[in-house]
């Protein structure tokens, strides 16, 4: 069996970070245009970790005592994976108020608003990233759950993967008091494909 080399060199990391910056810029613009909200997104953090560490990495970025809407959306193609958007109950309620023009939005309204925001974020970031890498992806319908921090990722469920890339950033709409964490997760074979795509792009740019 072929042993996958899933480590990224410095050039690959730099290139990925640069592509992500562009993608996140596009996402911020789309959010302003579509949701009528002016937000900022932090510089993305790129980490490669063992699958067993995923749950711990996510829990370290959020308040583990709170309840969250966790929305997950799959994408497939040469570079496939899963996007996850985690938003606290309070932020999600503010998002529901903003998108549904309601003082007390229903649970259905909030959930739909979270899915809509996730879809815009995921589609823009991943589409733009894959556009930079000259490849295409297909998105699946997102699903949302209202759960506690510990239930977002079950360590046993991801135990069969060896490595996971976590590309994470924070979305912040100060005026509307909405913020959330975005994670783009990809594993094993997809990491290998991503490395090949990045190398190809570096070759194209720098010759």
């Amino acid at each position: 069996m072929e042993v996958l080399n899933l480590e990224f060199n410095e050039d690959q990391i730099d290139a990925l970070r640069e592509f992500m910056n562009v993608s996140i810029g596009a996402a911020t613009a789309n959010l302003a245009n579509l949701l009528d909200a002016f937000g900022t997104m932090h510089i993305p953090k790129i980490e490669i970790c063992n699958s067993s560490e995923l749950s711990q990495k996510i829990e370290s970025t959020i308040d583990i005592g709170s309840m969250y809407y966790a929305t997950k959306q799959l994408f497939t193609g040469k570079f496939g994976g899963e996007c996850m958007f985690i938003i606290s109950e309070e932020s999600a309620r503010n998002l529901g108020r903003h998108l549904y023009n309601a003082t007390t939005p229903s649970r259905d309204d909030i959930s739909d608003a979270v899915i809509e925001l996730t879809n815009i974020l995921t589609s823009t970031i991943v589409s733009r990233l894959t556009q930079e890498l000259d490849t295409q992806v297909q998105f699946f319908v997102p699903s949302s759950q209202f759960i506690d921090a510990h239930s977002i990722v079950n360590s046993e469920d991801v135990a069969d993967y060896s490595k996971i890339i976590i590309i994470s950033t924070i979305l912040d709409f100060k005026d509307q008091k909405i913020n959330g964490n975005i994670y783009i997760l990809t594993k094993d074979e997809a990491i290998k494909s991503l490395k090949i795509l990045i190398d190809k792009k570096i070759e194209e740019i720098y010759g």
């Binding site: 789309n30 245009n33 579509l34 949701l35 998108l99 549904y100 023009n101 259905d108 959930s111 739909d112 899915i115 809509e116 879809n119 815009i120 589609s123 823009t124 589409s127 998105f139 319908v141 997102p142 699903s143 949302s144």
Partner: protein, 426 residues
């Protein structure tokens, strides 16, 4: 009529597809939608969707259309939502959990320059129903778990339980066990079960216990244990071996019930209050049981009756208190000189009865001779000499016990008659 291939394709699909623009004007309506909504394409094409479905949130729909067109990617409604995009009756009869079709609604870019999108509606009722059913089952399991936890707490607080390893190392104990034996749980865990054993006197019981449970059988019986402060406690115990998948003993579980008070009452009932030996009633009960059941292991015994010589004279000379001291002194001498397995009882007045187990008459004679010498040696109240006479006989298998007693009485009579302070065999 000219056949339009995309129409044929879309009409053959088992889900709904419509094409609308950002003003919600319908330009395509497939066969599935026509059947499920009872609105034909002729009726709806060219008209605005809100004329037929005014309850749709058009602000949200507009935003989703704009998202699809701008990003050139599908946008979605929440598939778990109770709000139906276009409410459609569900015709399934065998279940009533979903009255309306659960829908997955996807808005895909179609002709961007004309601001047209394709709205696709998928029937996900079966999947959703399975999810609801799973959720219900999980809720049931959670409720059962809560009940189980509550029951476990009741058991923990009210029943004495212990789990040990195969080697007797304590793995777990209930809170009630800790309270009863006045130990802290942390102190007990990891210790050996022998922490609770009373010193000595129970080796036969423990040997039988270990042999039984190591042979993968349950053991029930009474055990005398001690608390942290050394207080004696009697417990009725049931010890069960827990086997692994290969049928080998993995650990043991034990349940205990306090019977200390019952044991004290029982002891009072069978004990002579002055000498603390067994009383005549108990001795009779044991002997009658042995004779009735005729078990080989029990019927091999020698019967001895002893009488303090000139006891009346001791009473008359020194008073009843010294007389009582003489009885206690002789009783203690008997207890100290004989084996734990031998049964000693006060027979009445200044007489004692002894059952020596598994000995020959000659061996019995030797044992009793030593006892007689000890009685003679021990001075009552430090000054008074007392002696005792002994009659000895062996129980003959199957004989009436009255005959045995008659023989031993005769032996004692002969010992008295021939000068006292001696033992006679019959």
């Amino acid at each position: 009529m000219e056949i339009k291939y995309p129409d044929v394709l879309l009409d053959s699909l088992e889900n709904g597809h419509m094409i609308i623009d950002d003003k919600f004007i319908v330009s395509y309506w497939n066969r599935w939608l026509a059947i499920n909504t009872q609105i034909s394409k002729e009726e709806i094409i060219g008209k605005k969707l809100d004329e037929f479905y005014p309850n749709i949130n058009y602000k949200v729909l507009y935003r989703k259309i704009k998202t699809a067109l701008l990003i050139n990617t599908p946008s979605f409604y929440d598939t778990n939502s109770n709000v139906k995009f276009i409410p459609m009756n569900r015709n399934k009869v065998t279940t009533s959990s979903l009255m309306l079709m659960q829908q997955q609604v996807t808005i895909s870019p179609y002709i961007a320059c004309e601001n047209k999108v394709m709205v696709s509606i998928y029937d996900i009722s079966e999947l959703f129903e399975a999810k609801l059913s799973l959720k219900k089952e999980i809720e049931k399991v959670n409720k059962l778990n809560d009940k189980l936890e509550a029951d476990q707490e009741i058991i923990d607080r009210n029943i004495m339980m212990m789990r040990t390893s195969f080697d007797g190392v304590i793995i777990d104990v209930s809170t009630f066990f800790c309270q009863f034996f006045e130990f802290k749980k942390d102190f007990i865990l990891g210790k050996n079960i022998s922490t609770f054993k009373q010193d000595g006197g129970f080796s036969a019981t423990y040997k039988e216990l270990w042999e039984t449970i190591r042979n993968k059988k349950c053991w029930s019986g009474e055990l005398k244990l001690k608390t942290y402060k050394g207080e004696e406690k009697w417990v009725q115990s049931r010890i069960t071996p827990i086997l692994d998948i290969d049928g080998e003993v993995l650990e043991f579980s034990a349940v205990y019930h306090d019977i200390t008070n019952e044991k004290l009452l029982e002891e009072l009932y069978i004990t002579d209050p002055l000498t603390k030996l067994y009383n005549r009633a108990h001795f009779d009960e044991v002997v009658n049981f042995i004779v009735k059941h005729q078990r080989k292991t029990d019927t091999d015994f020698v019967l001895v009756i002893t009488d303090i010589d000139h006891f009346k004279s001791i009473n008359d000379t020194y008073g009843h208190q010294i007389g009582d001291e003489a009885l206690v002194s002789v009783a203690n001498t008997l207890k100290d000189s004989l084996r734990e397995d031998d049964l000693i009882a006060r027979w009445g007045g200044e007489e004692f009865v002894i059952m020596l187990k598994n000995v020959t008459l000659d061996e019995a004679k030797t044992i009793i001779e030593k006892v007689r010498a000890s009685v003679e040696k021990n001075k009552i109240n430090g000054t008074i000499n007392a002696t005792a006479s002994f009659g000895i006989t062996k129980y003959i298998l199957g004989e009436d016990i009255k005959k045995t007693f008659k023989r031993v009485d005769d032996a004692l009579y002969e010992a008295k008659k021939s000068g006292r302070n001696r033992a006679v065999l019959k």
